[in-house]
Symmetry: C2
Subunit: 499 residues, 2 copies
């Protein structure tokens, strides 16, 4: 730990006359590097600003805005989470505000806050620290593997210099306002914050998302070091792969026998009158559950995947029929827009997450990454293989935030699909549902089956399993899905009642 | 009023056998019309669903999703406003969720709720009704004039039929869940709701945003009439201009002598030491104000316009220097993206409005509509002339929601601009700030001056005036702006203390 901060705590001084020339060169270089990146638009850059309070972090943000072309830099400053932010996974607000490829975001009040706060406590909870650090590593890996570059700046100085800086500012009525109450507090517990920072940095430093310690006692030194660290990041050409953290959920999932499409019984059938009776029954139970006060604080995410013409749309309508239109949103997922392509692939799904009391129904989903993007080679093998872990982490974060996640695969046989394609072609108002894409996908039937089976294997966690629903008989499939949703929600309601 | 609902209250029946054939034709036609619109992508369509409770509105939304290609239809269902929605102007959530050109949105829980609720009270407030109806007309005019088509469906039936429908549903345990408590209530005060609807419709019906009454007693009639109304709207080719509501604010503004750029004194200057002293003083006061608890429930919007090189960026940095980075967002406005072009021009500004306790600083703004878009002919004369009123309404809504709005024009002389352009060209890290666009704009100096003066004339309302700041001396301009902001916020704080 000593070597990490030893330079910064020696409070080095840059020298006024040298600084002027260095600044001029740096500004020109920063602008040049910024424009080169904008032109390429390959990766976005997140600059995380952190450090003990009262060391000039705010001034450094202003400086970057002044030295770079501020029109392509966005300061992302996060304070206490709002009510809406609190009701979503912790990382939600950071995901939603990611800059697009080519652009730069300066993050203030970053995802390091809980880790630093825990580590700085008198009696920190070691397990919590481990888990917060792991979540941070996973988040940063997912970003850096998907087009976001991260550099993290830790502003540091000696305890003496921090005290002196605060005292100087306070002594002058014109600058006293720059000292906030937390700055004074930070001075009082300098050692604890310092050790917490050293621990947090050591647990989250990596080639793909490096920490840089910025000596902050001398304003010139602080400014030049900030500029140089950002310049180095802007210039960094090729993507550094993250060192993949191990994923305990995948291991746990693999211990179970994963379901496969071949093992399903496709002969399951439901007679007309039995279907009508059961549909009314399950819709009634679903409506009662959804209207119930206990669900006002639960967000529900339903995921529908399956072969083309497996009956996803019809099944979804049978569900929404039992719901108040204000309570759900059906989200059809098609090819990403330009804006979506300029962000990590999970970004658009983060933006569509439901708030508590609401139900988001995804008609296709983030699993496209390991299905269509894999089979059609829109994603490289490295990318889609990595996606299993990224998706598991995403769903874990959803579950941890209290959301209910149910995943359905509606499975039809190749013969049944052909029958439905033909029916669609002949129906005047269903023909729009069948496109050349559908026929093309059908020719790759086996590749899709393989991708689906591997997906079940890697993403069926015990707490978030795949539900495979034989759908050659649409009525059977609809009832099976409704029943599964109702039973899952009833299970949760009963759990809540007990607690 | 009688003729409005007389057909619907006769509870007409479509006839089962006729309905089948009509439905088949209608579905094919709807899909065709939907695809034609998507291909053209000229206008989006908002379908407002309203009516007395318990008449099958939800079923009609499901039906449209089934009959049309649901992938390009979004159901926009609004319930009770969330905390965040409540802290923004009432129309904020509707603006933010507008569909893009070519797409369709079905609005449930629309902006008619407050008007209908007030009109249905035992002793309605006539003035409130007038003001709500006017706000609705203005909102719909702005949308329909800017690429959004609106059709509004009112579902209606006789009192007897409504009672019978509710009783039938309730009598069967499998359908009783479809009856919500408000449906039963609606039956009890049928007449009052009916008269309220007639009043609201008569006050907000117009060629550009028409109401259609849908007979709702017979499910077939309801379905076919819904489909036909939507089909007619989808097919409607050319834009119907709105009948412009009069704007009282413009009249009020015109009564004052509007400021002009020619009348300014450009010789105002501030000496170096005086500037340093005043800068520290005003920044200190601004920082104190912003940190004050009284501002946690006030949203502040600062608008900066002015000639190129007038010093907007530098002035903004002097403001943000006094603020916590978590408290403000600087929003540079440049040419609209594809996504922004697919929406009304005000859409992107609605999305960037600050929440209470936050400050949004617009570096250029919605006034681009009457400045660059006018001079460069990106907007037609009809469009930019209409924009004065649309902008005034937008700002009125901001003010009504409790926001503080301050508008600054930083004004330089033509000579001073030339000097700064030359300086920028020579500076290695300022040269990026000068582009061929700047020189081109300069050649149109007089046209911009004229556009600016007319803008001051039409958009300087007494409660939201333009502040023209002579900026040939940057230091003078920065202090003038800071002083104006501080004094405005102090004025508001004092007002709050009194109340």
């Amino acid at each position: 730990m000593d070597s990490l901060f030893s330079v910064a705590e020696s409070d080095p001084v840059f020298g006024r006359e040298k600084a002027g020339a260095a600044e001029a060169r740096l500004r020109t270089a920063l602008l040049k590097a910024q424009y080169a990146r904008l032109a390429k638009a390959q990766r976005s850059l997140l600059i995380v600003i952190a450090g003990i309070d009262g060391v000039g972090k705010g001034a450094s943000v202003s400086l970057l805005n002044e030295w770079m072309d501020a029109r392509h830099v966005r300061t992302l400053a996060f304070g206490e989470p709002t009510q809406e932010e609190q009701s979503h996974p912790f990382l939600w607000r950071y995901w939603r505000n990611l800059p697009a490829r080519g652009k730069t975001g300066i993050v203030f009040g970053s995802w390091y806050r809980p880790l630093l706060a825990e580590a700085a406590r008198k009696h920190p909870d070691q397990e919590k620290i481990q888990s917060l650090a792991r979540a941070t590593r996973e988040f940063e890996s997912t970003l850096t593997d998907n087009g976001v570059q991260i550099v993290k700046l830790w502003y540091h100085l000696s305890k003496k210099a921090q005290k002196r800086r605060t005292a100087e500012l306070l002594s002058n009525p014109d600058t006293a306002w720059q000292v906030r109450p937390e700055d004074v507090k930070a001075g009082k517990k300098f050692e604890r914050l310092r050790d917490a920072a050293a621990l947090a940095i050591s647990m989250t430093d990596g080639e793909h998302a490096p920490w840089r310690v910025i000596p902050a006692a001398d304003p010139d030194m602080r400014a030049i070091c900030t500029g140089r660290a950002v310049l180095a990041a802007l210039r960094e050409g090729s993507r550094k792969p993250s060192s993949h953290p191990s994923d305990t959920r995948i291991v746990a999932a693999a211990a179970q026998a994963p379901p496969t499409l071949q093992a399903l019984d496709y002969t399951a059938k439901l007679a007309d009158d039995e279907y009508d009776r059961q549909l009314a029954e399950w819709q009634r139970r679903l409506a009662r559950l959804a209207q119930h006060g206990e669900f006002q604080d639960t967000a529900v995410v339903l995921v529908f995947e399956g072969q083309d013409a497996a009956g996803k749309g019809g099944t979804i309508r049978r569900i929404t029929h039992a719901l108040d239109a204000r309570q759900f949103r059906a989200i059809p997922i098609s090819a990403p827009t330009g804006d979506e392509l300029a962000h990590p692939y999970l970004w658009r799904f983060w933006r569509d997450l439901p708030r508590p009391g609401n139900i988001a129904i995804f008609d296709r989903s983030w699993y496209g990454r390991v299905l269509v993007e894999r089979v059609e080679r829109y994603a490289s093998a490295t990318e889609w293989r990595r996606a299993y872990r990224e998706i598991n982490q995403f769903e874990s974060q959803l579950l941890d935030s209290g959301a209910v996640v149910l995943k359905f695969w509606l499975a039809v046989t190749k013969d049944e699909q052909l029958k439905r394609f033909r029916e669609r072609e002949e129906s005047p108002f269903k023909s729009f549902k069948i496109t050349p894409d559908d026929w093309r996908n059908r020719r790759k039937w086996d590749a899709y089956v393989q991708a689906a089976n591997e997906m079940f294997q890697h993403t069926s966690a015990p707490d978030c399993p795949w539900h495979l629903v034989p759908s050659d008989d649409k009525r059977h499939a609809r009832i099976a899905v409704l029943e599964c949703i109702v039973k899952a929600l009833e299970h949760i309601r009963n759990g809540k009642k007990k607690s």
